[in-house]
């Protein structure tokens, strides 16, 4: 078999590879947002957190030489952003969506400011697991080169679903997200629960950012995110606030995103830029198809400002 010419088979292989590669930041950001929204708050600032996480992770990895230190730094930075959002929203008469937009701009701005010196240097990459060792088709082997963070994210999705179902913390987050009154009657402090849910969500988004700069595309620049953080927030709604659905949605989105490059690689160059829009068109299409003008969105946390 000629390993270099696999013809149209390259398209599905590239889509699978793309799904795994591109989806990881979406998995982390959407899981983070899922947790935050399940507690009854929306954090639109995750785009800023993602970009800042990418910068912070890259910078720390560059200075320490360890990509994992970079991931930890990105998570910490993300948590700080989450805490800031959570704290601002606990003040009276503060709107979480407005705060989120402000933090999105703040996060990207401050990342660009501190990130200028790191555009040139090269930081170490995160390791990948070569799951394609058994094949001699280089495209397939490349597609199956799976980053550790992808595996972590996939496990995390199931762990979070389990948490919402069978742990005290998970139930408390759901109670607070669904009914502030009930939570108060139970003696819980909704603001406190939301603060830490937002902080944890921010940390996950930070890790998603570290993946961007430390693995794929694997360098730091100002156009690194291009709105992925915002799309991940939309994915949560699409996934109906279910962590496992977030994983599938992120994979679907990543796969659709790989459609353009994959077609290009087999020589389809017409309408090339149009294929870059595929994930957005797909998401829009699916949202329209699964929505209903007469029904409330099922699964939406009751305290969310967009569903109230």
């Amino acid at each position: 078999m000629n390993g270099l010419d696999i013809g149209w088979w390259g398209v599905p292989i590239a889509i699978i590879g793309g799904a795994i590669r591109v989806s990881t930041p979406f998995i982390f950001v959407s899981l983070g947002e899922c947790l935050t929204e399940r507690s009854g708050r929306i954090n639109l600032g995750l785009e800023g957190t993602l970009v800042f996480g990418a910068m912070a992770g890259y910078a720390v990895a560059f200075h320490t030489g360890s990509p994992w230190a970079g991931v930890a730094a990105a998570a910490l930075a993300g948590m700080m952003f989450g805490l800031l959002h959570g704290w601002l929203c606990s003040l009276p008469k503060v709107n979480d969506i407005a705060v989120g937009i402000a933090l999105m701009l703040f996060g990207t701005g401050i990342a660009f400011f501190f990130g200028k010196p790191y555009i040139q240097p090269v930081a170490p990459d995160l390791p990948a697991i070569p799951l394609g060792w058994w094949t001699d088709i280089p495209q397939l082997e490349a597609a199956l080169r799976v980053n550790v963070l992808f595996v972590v994210g996939a496990i995390l999705a199931f762990a979070m679903a389990w948490m919402f179902k069978a742990t005290r913390i998970g139930l408390i987050v759901r109670v607070v997200g669904d009914s502030t009154d009930a939570a108060r009657a139970m003696g819980l402090d909704p603001n406190w629960v939301r603060l830490w849910s937002t902080a944890a969500g921010g940390a996950l988004a930070g890790i998603g950012g570290a993946y961007l700069s430390l693995y794929y595309p694997g360098s730091w620049n100002e156009g690194i995110s291009s709105g992925q953080g915002l799309m991940a927030v939309a994915l949560v709604i699409f996934a109906r606030w279910n962590p496992i659905n977030c994983l599938w949605a992120a994979l679907l989105f990543g796969g659709a995103g790989a459609l353009g490059p994959a077609l290009q690689s087999v020589g389809v160059s017409e309408g090339y830029y149009l294929f870059f829009a595929a994930p957005y068109v797909l998401t829009l299409g699916l949202l329209v198809a699964t929505s209903s003008p007469t029904q409330a969105i099922s699964g939406a946390p009751g305290e969310l400002s967009i569903t109230k």
């Binding site: 179902k165 069978a166 742990t167 005290r168 913390i169 139930l171 408390i172 759901r174 109670v175 669904d178 009914s179 009154d181 009930a182 009657a185 139970m186 003696g187 209903s292 003008p293 007469t294 029904q295 409330a296 699964g299 946390p301 009751g302």
Partner: protein, 505 residues
Amino acid sequence: MTALAPIGVETVGMTMKFGAFVALDNVSIQVRPGTFHALLGENGAGKSTLVKCMMGFYHPTSGQLIVGDREVSIDDPRAAHAHGLGMVYQHFTLVPSLTGAENLVINRPDVPAVIDWADERGALADFMATMPFAVPLDVPVSRLSAGEKQKLELLKQLYLGRKFLILDEPTSVLTPAEADELLGMVRQMTVQAGLTVLMITHKFREVTAYADEVSVLRRGRYVGGGKVAELSHADMAALMIGEKTLSQKAARSGVPGDAVLSLRGVQAVDRSGLKQISLDSLDVRAGEIVGVAGVSGNGQTELMELLAGQRPYQAGAIAVKGHAYDASRTQARAANVRYLPEEPLHNACAPRMSVAQNMAFRDFDEDAQGKPRFWLDTGAMRAKARELVAAYNVKTTSIDSPIAALSGGNVQRAVLARELTGPVDLLVISNPCFGLDFSAVAEIRARIMAARNSGTAVLLISEDLDEILELSDRVLVMSEGRIAFETPIGAADIGEIGQHMAGHA
């Protein structure tokens, strides 16, 4: 359920002031151990304030609380729970998206970090086996009926080991049969299991049928009470209302005219999107009140939405006075159709706009000749609002205060004033008296009856069967999205109606 040593609760000289307003004035009531005690009073009489003081939501200005034989100080609801006091609220405190089992477990003070569901389910099954009634525990609470939710609230309190239960109008959202079942069970538990119950209510029937003793509050004072067996409805009403005169029930007059509203073969999807609303034929004639009874969630809300143009329908026709009707503003105006939806503050008002502005919603955009206008005539709006506020006895500090600042009854009066101004040929009303007090209820019902007598066709959708029976000329029962039963009021049998409401006929 194992028998507990019953506890009694007593308030001594309880006084609660909010600024200059005295909500409770030296109230002493005694709830003896193992009894079913009713707390009667109109809205605003201080019943809620009293129980909130008992539960630690409010700190009384003065007065003591005695639990068992000791004086206790209760600073917050947790302290009340620690003394075995629990409350079932009028609104549900269950978390809608959690299942019954999750709701019960998460409310326990000692929830383990990781919940072993197999274990918990076993424990819950054991607990349920000791209870006189069952509720499905594995579906989200949002899918339970109102009656099931109310039972689950009660179960929750018992699961948490409360021995003294305060029930705040527990039957306001239940059918008569559900209410009887629930109260019967509570009654049984006071007798057999040592539970002590204090129930807030408006309904004399429930007091007579289930309570041992009664205390009556009026304007923050204890005005009387005693053994239920020794008091008649008239005695209790006299204590509750005092010497105030109620507006008299308007007599019926006139004969029904032609059909004003007619629905034919209307098919629509309900809120959940799973069930079908299917109305084969519904007519409302001029000068009659058609009452639509039913347990909530059987399509009444959807019927209101269909008539108000808020819900699309797949098949059939809605006509008003023989013309197809899609509830646009123009059509509603041309056909003189008016609405009083349930919870008018949210469904028929802009809560933060002023009373005057809210009262002008029907006609602020047209001038005296019915031509569209660009500049508002604020002077005329205010004059009209003042006139309506006086005519309908709306209690507001000013016509410029936001309508959300008014009490429920006054919002209802304000909206009714707006909707009944000018010629009205069709009036569609939903739960007009929900949560209102005695005198407000009587007045609003009188207004509806007066509109009927002047030739308006009235469609009254209500979950309060007494209201339907009092006002209607014809009674329809909705069940599972269909009109299951129809009877003229003269032949109406409450048992038969109840059976159709419950879907058992």
